[in-house]
């Protein structure tokens, strides 16, 4: 497993090691960003298959590691790969159309924690499947509205509507106290 010698290296340096064939360096990147990629896939609605999809995304990332030049974050780059792979899997199963058309209310959010805070994961469950996909792509995977529209094979206006409705629902559910929780939580790399 990736040893302590990688702990102080920046993601870009680790990616350079990985590009030279160092699989342990890539293992450190997986350890750092596995949680974020899995969380994104779950927020998109992948649930049970999120871990498998995340593994596939990292394997693809390793194969294409030479394409990562550090212009954006490594986490963002892998998340885009993971999101696209999830959408392709939905498309193969002919489920994408039904999902993006879904504007129904999701599950009611669970009660907040002791501070009355409701976390993002719980709030996302309140979104319809189409809204969840669009919001996750645009705010979690860094897609522009146009890119999301292309990936989902939807008109741009529909994506914008999904995002707008999704944001309204999230804003209503996310307590303002999350502002302070979010501060100082910079993603690694």
């Amino acid at each position: 497993m990736a040893g302590a010698r990688y702990a102080n290296l920046h993601d870009v340096e680790l990616a350079a090691h990985a590009a030279a064939g160092d699989r342990s360096a890539f293992g450190e990147l997986v350890r750092r960003h596995g949680g974020g990629v899995r969380a994104l896939l779950r927020r998109m609605g992948a649930a049970a298959e999120a871990d498998d999809l995340a593994q596939d995304a990292f394997l693809t990332a390793f194969e294409r590691i030479a394409e990562f030049r550090g212009e954006g974050t490594f986490a963002g780059w892998v998340k885009r790969i993971a999101a696209r792979q999830y959408l392709r899997r939905l498309q193969r199963r002919r489920r994408l159309k039904a999902l993006v058309a879904g504007v129904e209310e999701g599950d009611p959010p669970a009660p907040g924690d002791a501070d009355g805070r409701i976390d993002l994961d719980e709030s996302m469950k309140a979104l319809g499947s189409g809204e969840r996909l669009c919001v996750s792509l645009c705010f979690g995977a860094g897609f522009s509205h146009a890119e999301a529209a292309e990936a989902l094979n939807l008109p741009l206006g529909t994506v914008k509507s999904h995002v707008k409705r999704g944001l309204e629902k999230l804003r209503a559910r996310l307590a303002p106290s999350e502002d302070s929780a979010a501060e100082g939580n910079d993603a690694h790399g």
Binding site: R23, G27, R31, R32, G35, Q55, L59, L167, A182, E183
Partner: protein
């Protein structure tokens, strides 16, 4: 403005990597799959290189190259022996060193290895 603030807050929330209890186990699973894939790839490349080398060598020999090479080798062996005799007239190990047939087959074996290596190298670069 409030909308923009909220969108930024949402991006931060999405960017937060939640702590997961099985982070190391997940990384080990990915690395295990990488290692298995790498081993399988090397085996496939090695096998393809070996097969490619044998096929290439057999094509060369089936084309009658062996006979021509043996003749040429015998001629060059004689010339080499004669040349070496002039340099070292009392060396009685020269005929064994330059016997044509052995040289042909040694060269053939080396050619198979070289072709196999070349095919394997080409495949690994793809």
């Amino acid at each position: 403005m409030a909308e923009l603030d909220f969108e930024r807050r949402l991006e931060r929330l999405f960017a937060e990597a939640p702590a997961m209890a099985d982070e190391d186990a997940f990384a080990r699973r990915v690395q295990g799959r990488l290692d298995r894939g790498w081993t399988a790839r090397r085996l496939v490349i090695g096998a393809a290189g070996g097969v490619g080398g044998v096929v290439a060598a057999s094509q060369l020999f089936l084309s009658g190259l062996a006979g021509r090479m043996e003749t040429a080798s015998e001629g060059s062996a004689k010339a080499l022996t004669a040349g070496l005799r002039e340099v070292a007239p009392h060396a009685d190990w020269l005929p064994a060193l330059t016997s044509g047939g052995a040289m042909v087959w040694t060269a053939s074996a080396l050619a198979v290895i070289a072709l196999g290596f070349a095919v394997a190298r080409a495949l690994s670069e793809i």
